[in-house]
């Protein structure tokens, strides 16, 4: 603690912090991990088997939450928050980032210490400087004096040598004193910990092999000892987790909750570690701690044939032993970040040239003994003391290092002459110009450095940027020619949401609006306060003459964010001159142009071979450029010259079941010819249906109905003669009126088929809106183009017939899932690109054990609204529906959740899952088991397979569940679909919650099975069918309906 700060700071409320501990014992490779999670709501939620109802804990009393259970995968005692004062919601989930765990090496060579939280001002951080305080204490100011705190710890233990694993959850709660409000909580990480004074005991514990002891190291200036609670013993290998909380300066007793958890395989004898007495004072010299690489969770399955797999990841070898983290204190305090950087720069002779400094935390590739430096503040000539104190020794692969490694990567890409557009680097020299469409395609790379289970990797994805040849002004001119009346609207439609790059810098901006009342002759204020016009500004600074004075300005509204390290917040709009900016990306209009997309994908869809070649080229360029190699070398990084090769597996093929036959899905994962040879599982007789068409398509309509009737026999569907409804023209209005009239006059009508011409988004939308919202009835829109070729008509009609059957509630095919009373749920979210409309969540849940009946719902979210509100509602509704159909609730629920961005994973884990579990409470006496799996399709991992030195795409069913997997989760990559063009981007699945105890193998196979069930395509698809359905539903609702579809349709796949 900064000496200048009055002592009373330590009498503020303590805060739970995120701690992560692990221990690595060389012989045993035992490790543990713990996590402390704060919660927001008062009710306590135990996420494991025992689900505890919410209750208010009396203030000042301890609570123990014992939750124990055998879990495969991960169990989690979800933490909760004890609402201590009478005021609900008083609790504050404060989380201090990145408090690193204490780690003890078995031999006691352990160093413990506190890592100062980054970004904190020196004034309030750095508690470790006080000898009397424990290294792991964090204190922060809270506005009110009594805080309520709960922390939850989760521990895991892995014994890789046994190939079994488990994870213990330790909910650790503490009720602080209400009357005083000064609480210090210390949560000790799980892990083998030792320190100089208690050296003997941990050793004893560890002597038993795979057992863990965790302690709260607590040192109080006043009260002294922490307490340790003995763990409960579970069957099998015992893992003892001990946590203790210190006493706070005021009277309040600590709460200890211990949960213990066992691994799957019960092997060695249980060991109960003894509670450890904590030393009354911590030696001062344990200030520096060492972060050790954690072992990965056990998440590898065994089923399937081995296959050699390569990926777009390049191993990185770390030549340095460690990266050293230092805390830099300026005294007297220097507020200005710029000045801090400047002062550190002066001391390069001491620190060396290779530094990463964020204003208070300094990383160096070399070891510095604690140093005190001096600088003179130029503004007032005051002498500033700079103290550089080592806080931690990091392994070179530490997550903390990744940000500045990525800076190195960006620098190297620049050195290679690649241009930064958005976040990726492209090579305009080898641009492909698609003259016909006024587009350019630039080849390039998306690069980053990742730390996965296998270590540190340089991830290179081949990327292509599509750019327009024309300036935004040119595009506007074209739009003006096309529609003079709606010019403003058309411009907004075309431009808002697009990304532009400018003529004068390399930045990209998203267009958020168009300012029609401004022109380049308008003025804007410069940094120094003077005003200048856009015309003058660009002429003076960039020598650019703006030619068109009568153009509006584009508006970009940056997201609110603070400048790095500083307090200043960047706000306000940025105005961009259309003449000086170029659009990037594929224009919305062109996306429906099949020909263009074909041209584009030809260039963009690189095969695996092209992919690996282009990655190889980059690696060669790097290795042959000494300055690039040197740049990496500054941090001791050495990039391998080859991409990563490893062993994956191909899951066995599935059997597709139809009404009276079943067949293997085939090596290419497609069964389009087989699916029409046998009858579907069930078909809805189509007796009463109508075809709507414009007069000029009469022949096609007639032909289509004939073909349907002819084909229906072999496919096992009964199709009667349709009512032919010709219309005099093909206006949208005519369609809508005709359909409406027909549907209202004939309530028994089963299906509406519309034959349309051309790309008519508006017409499609109008028909769907009518048939899904106003007059609920299944509808099928057919473009005349697809049925006008006689030689293709048969196969197209077969597919349409299947699709219609699906929409009417028929069942096409299924695969065998050997789980009883199972409900599979799929969720996806559709966001409007222009951000003008609300986001839509599509929700689909299976209603029978064959997974052939689905219940679907849609919810809309306003800006800032969380997905979970609608999610919960849909979930309850689906459960109710399931009960109605099956007269029982599902015992097992598997949720596939798509549409979660990388940054939201923690949110889903901490809030969404507990909220879902809460739904079960509403139904009395119901405790189903649940698996919650996140589905991520947009990832930059690519998989190849290598056959005799050439790379190709892996077959459908390829699984990768090690090396590239995330260290914190049970996850795997599954490539389910077969790829004809392009290369293999697998889908990433993260299992966040698993109380069904599904083994990894089953988890993977269930997911693969789900990829077989998308009825719109007789083959395997990228994501599980429920997700795909949810996606399709959300897209339809968000893009066309903009409203909740009628509930009458909810039990059919009307959106197919």
């Amino acid at each position: 603690m900064d000496p200048n700060i009055p002592r009373k700071h330590s009498f503020m409320t303590g805060v739970p912090f995120l701690g992560r501990g692990r221990a690595l014992q060389p012989q045993e490779l035992a490790l543990g991990r713990s996590r402390v999670l704060p919660a927001t709501e008062a009710p306590r939620v135990g996420l494991a088997r025992g689900f505890l109802p919410s209750d208010n804990t009396p203030p000042g009393r301890g609570v123990t939450l014992p939750v124990s259970q055998t879990v495969f995968g991960r169990a989690r005692g979800l933490l909760s928050q004890l609402d201590v004062g009478e005021v609900a919601g008083r609790a504050r989930g404060l989380l201090l980032p990145s408090l690193e765990p204490q780690v003890g090496l078995a031999r006691g060579t352990l160093l413990t210490s506190l890592e100062p939280p980054p970004g904190r001002t020196p004034g309030s951080g750095a508690t470790a400087q006080k000898p009397t305080e424990t290294p792991s204490t964090k204190e922060v100011d809270l506005p009110d004096n009594d805080g309520t705190l709960v922390s939850m710890m989760r521990g895991i233990g892995v014994d890789p040598s046994m190939a079994t694993w488990g994870r213990g959850n330790i909910p650790l709660g503490r009720g602080p004193a209400v009357d005083a409000g000064t609480v210090t909580i210390q949560a000790a990480p799980v892990g083998v910990t030792s320190n100089l004074e208690s050296f003997g005991k941990p050793e004893e514990v560890m002597g038993r092999g795979s057992s863990f002891g965790a302690r709260g190291l607590s040192l109080q200036t006043m009260a002294g000892l922490g307490r340790a609670a003995p763990p409960q013993l579970g069957p099998g290998r015992g893992r003892a987790v001990l946590c203790s909380l210190p006493q706070s300066p005021v009277k309040s007793s600590p709460v200890v909750a211990v949960e213990q958890q066992t691994a799957l395989s019960v092997t060695s004898s249980a060991t109960a570690p003894k509670p450890l007495e904590l030393p009354a004072s911590e030696p001062e010299d344990t200030a520096v701690k060492t972060e050790v690489v954690r072992e990965s969770l056990n998440k590898t399955g065994t089923k399937g044939c081995p296959i050699e797999i390569a990926s777009n990841h390049v191993p990185i070898c770390c030549q340095n032993k460690a990266v050293y983290q230092y805390h830099v204190t300026f005294s007297p305090n220097v507020e200005s970040m710029g000045m801090r950087f400047g002062m550190m720069k002066e001391h390069r002779p001491t620190t060396g040239e290779v530094v990463a400094f964020d204003g208070s935390i300094l990383y160096l590739p070399m070891k510095l003994d604690d140093v005190a430096l001096k600088s003179v503040r130029l503004t007032d000539q005051e002498e500033i003391q700079i103290q550089i104190r080592m806080t931690k020794i990091l392994p070179p692969s530490s997550d903390l290092c990744l940000p500045f490694y990525n800076v190195v990567v960006r620098r190297v890409m620049k050195m290679l002459g690649l241009k930064l557009v958005g976040r990726n680097h492209y090579n305009p020299e080898s641009a492909v110009i698609l003259g016909k469409h006024r587009l350019q395609v630039w080849p390039g790379y998306a690069t980053c450095i990742k730390h996965t289970d296998g270590g540190l990797y340089f991830c290179v994805d081949v990327s292509h940027k599509v750019l327009r040849n024309d300036s935004v002004l040119d595009v506007m001119n074209v739009l003006f020619q096309e529609s003079k009346q709606n010019f403003h609207d058309e411009c907004a439609k075309e431009l808002v949401g697009s990304i532009v790059i400018t003529r004068y810098n390399n930045r990209t901006y998203r267009i958020d609006d168009i300012e029609w009342d401004k022109s380049p002759n308008d003025t804007f204020p410069l940094m120094d306060g003077t005003k200048t016009t856009f015309v003058d500004y660009y002429h003076k600074n960039y020598g650019i003459t703006i030619k068109e004075m009568n153009q509006p300005l584009l508006v970009h509204r940056p997201k609110e964010r603070s400048k790095p390290g500083g307090k200043q917040i960047i706000t306000g709009e940025i105005l961009i001159v259309p003449e000086l900016s170029f659009l990037t990306g594929i224009p919305e209009k062109m996306k429906s142009n099949m020909k263009l997309m074909k041209d584009l994908t030809m260039h963009i869809n690189a095969s695996s071979e092209q992919h690996t070649q282009s990655i190889g080229k980059l690696l060669k360029n790097i290795s042959t450029k000494p300055e690039c190699v040197k740049e990496f070398g500054r941090w001791g990084l050495k990039i391998s010259s080859e991409i990563l090769l490893m062993k994956g597996r191909t899951l066995p093929m599935e059997n597709i079941c139809m009404k009276s036959s079943s067949f293997s899905s085939g090596t290419d994962g497609r069964w389009s010819n087989k699916v029409v040879r046998d009858a579907s599982i069930s078909s809805v007789p189509l007796n009463n249906w109508a075809i709507f068409y414009a007069q000029r398509c009469a022949a096609e309509a007639e032909e289509l109905s004939n073909v349907f009737i002819k084909l229906s026999g072999p496919m096992g569907v009964k199709v009667g003669r349709p009512r032919l409804v010709p219309m005099k023209n093909d206006y949208t209005d005519t369609y809508v009126k005709s359909i409406h009239a027909q549907v209202t006059s004939e309530p028994d009508l089963q299906l509406v088929v519309c034959i349309v011409t051309g790309n008519r988004d508006d017409l499609y939308g109008a028909i769907k809106k009518l048939c899904c919202v106003q007059n609920p009835i299944p509808s099928q829109v057919v473009n005349v183009r697809t049925i006008s070729q006689p030689q293709k008509l048969k196969s197209v009609a077969q597919m349409i017939l299947l699709q219609i059957n699906g929409k009417l509630g028929g069942e096409l095919w299924t695969v065998n899932v050997p789980l009883k009373l199972l409900m599979v749920v799929g969720v996806d979210v559709h966001h409007d690109a222009t951000k003008r409309n609300r986001s839509v969540m599509g929700f689909v849940a299976s209603m029978n054990s064959a997974l052939t009946r689905w219940y679907s719902r849609v919810t809309f979210q306003g800006p800032g609204q969380e997905v979970i509100d609608g999610f919960r509602e849909c979930f309850v509704e689906a459960l109710r529906q399931y009960y109605e159909v099956n007269h029982s609730f599902p015992e097992k629920i598997v949720v596939y959740r798509d549409g979660v961005s990388e940054g939201q994973v923690a949110m889903v884990e901490q809030f969404e899952i507990p909220q879902l579990i809460k739904c079960f409470q509403n139904i009395g006496n119901y405790e189903p088991k649940m698996v919650f799996i996140l589905v991520q399709k947009r990832i930059n991992t690519t998989l190849y397979t290598r056959v005799s030195n050439t790379f190709s795409t892996p077959p459908p069913g390829t699984i990768l569940d090690h090396t590239l997997t995330k260290r914190d989760w049970v996850d795997f990559y599954l490539l389910a679909h077969s790829i004809r063009h392009g290369c293999g981007v697998p889908t990433h699945y993260i299992c966040l919650y698993n109380t069904v105890n599904l083994p990894v193998d089953h988890l993977q196979r269930l997911t693969f099975k789900m990829c077989h069930l998308y009825w719109n395509f007789p083959g395997t698809v990228r994501v599980p069918a429920p997700c795909k359905y949810a996606h399709k539903l959300a897209y339809l609702a968000g893009q066309y309906l903009r409203a909740q579809p009628a509930l009458q349709l909810a039990d059919k796949l009307f959106f197919l």
Partner: protein, 422 residues
């Protein structure tokens, strides 16, 4: 104290000079982190921009910023720019820096010892012999107005001159090497003190006299070719003066415009045929109809020749349909694949962009003939475009879901695969 800051004012002085005098070859001696070069690179009258500094590390620090911007590749200009950075000392000669239109050395000479300064004048004025040299240095008389300053403004300064000292040096040099010099500066003194103190930074603008007394040949053959500088970086900006670039862009423009003309023409044709023909049932009929149309269309080009440009837009675009004889027999299945729409070059010429890029019709033809991706008619008077086969872009129902397997940054979402609505 100054607004904008003095270092920017110095650079702005040079930029203003460049704007006014439009030199083509410019060198900045002692360019340090290339700040001035970064401003100058936007002034496209400059064709060669060179930076020299003795500190290679400093040069390397920011040089990435000197490269072309992404947009320079999207719409290359006619201007040509090449940037080169050298590591070397201004007291040494290098033949690559001779014959420049402008050489600047901003706040450089005060870092040289007086002996080196002599060498410097010899190298710059006696060897490089630029048309204009701009040399700036601190004005020592102004130092009294700088608060808290004792000694020199920078610890590395070897001297700081008064106006008189600078002027006497400059005049001496000018006399010796045949230059005239004009004195000015940036950073004026507070009101009323300008005469007594002068500018904070004094600047001498040296202009080579036309009649040079010691007229050794400027690029004399007798002068040894010296290469004492090390070239660290060089970049050539994309420019339409480069024939490859020009052809690439011209072809793109031609194809785009030709496609547009074709589209218009086909629509007009459709509108016309809609009246006469009711509904084309199969491929055969459509074929016949098109052939009939072809005869009509054939007459058009003569009717509206290039002499009657006004009619082009209204009566016809001068396009006509043609067929490839050779392939016709082979594939009767899909006759449309081998039908072409001919777009006369004269029609293409009406696009302002095409005409601006190619300069003349002859050039246009010449460019297009060299380009393998463009198909010209036999006499080279028209660009042949495949008649759009409406079904060519159609998709197989099976492929629908694989659109998203694409690797592009924004995967194109394809429409429903069986429900061909989009």
């Amino acid at each position: 104290m100054f607004s904008p800051p003095l270092h920017r004012q110095r650079h702005q002085f040079v930029v203003d000079f460049v704007n006014k005098n439009k030199p083509q070859k410019v060198a900045d001696l002692g360019c340090s982190e290339c700040t001035l070069l970064m401003k100058l690179k936007f002034h496209r009258d400059i064709e060669l921009l060179v930076g020299v500094d003795i500190d290679g590390a400093k040069l390397k620090k920011k040089w990435q910023g000197l490269g072309p911007l992404s947009t320079d590749y999207l719409q290359p200009s006619y201007y040509q720019l090449r940037i080169e950075l050298y590591q070397g000392s201004v007291t040494q000669k290098d033949a690559r820096l001779r014959g420049f239109d402008l050489v600047t050395s901003v706040e450089l000479i005060e870092h040289l010892t007086l002996a080196d300064l002599g060498q410097f004048s010899d190298v710059v004025f006696g060897y490089m012999i630029p048309a204009v040299a701009i040399i700036s240095t601190p004005n020592a008389e102004f130092n009294t107005l700088l608060p808290g300053l004792t000694g020199f403004r920078h610890h590395d300064h070897k001297f700081e001159w008064t106006r008189a000292e600078f002027q006497s040096w400059a005049l001496g040099v000018a006399l010796q090497y045949g230059y005239e010099v004009e004195f000015t500066g940036v950073g004026p003194a507070p009101l009323g003190q300008q005469d007594a103190v002068g500018f904070c930074t004094q600047i001498g603008v040296f202009r080579r006299l036309r009649q040079r007394p010691s007229c050794r040949a400027v690029f004399g053959v007798d002068v040894e070719e010296l290469f004492s500088y090390e070239l660290l970086y060089s970049i050539t900006y994309p420019s339409l003066r480069d024939n490859n670039t020009l052809r690439k862009f011209l072809v793109a423009e031609v194809l785009c415009f030709a496609e547009e003309l074709k589209q218009r023409w086909m629509e007009e044709r459709m509108a016309a045929s809609d009246g006469s023909l009711l509904q084309t049932e199969g491929g055969a009929e459509a074929h016949q109809a098109a052939s009939g149309q072809r005869v009509e269309a054939r007459e058009n080009p003569t009717a509206c020749g290039p002499e009657d440009e006004n009619l082009m837009g209204q009566r016809g675009l001068g396009l006509f349909m043609t067929q490839e004889e050779a392939n016709q027999g082979a594939q009767e299945e899909s006759p449309s694949v081998h039908r072409f729409v001919a777009v006369p070059l004269a029609s293409l010429w009406t696009s302002p962009k095409v005409s601006a890029l190619s300069g003349s019709l002859r050039n246009l033809r010449h460019f297009l003939m060299e380009e393998p991706t463009v198909r010209l008619s036999q006499d080279g008077s028209a660009v042949m475009l495949k008649e759009e086969d409406l079904d060519e872009g159609s998709f197989h129902a099976e492929d629908g879901d694989y659109g998203e397997a694409n690797q592009c940054s924004q995967p194109p979402e394809q429409g429903e695969e069986w429900e061909a609505s989009v």
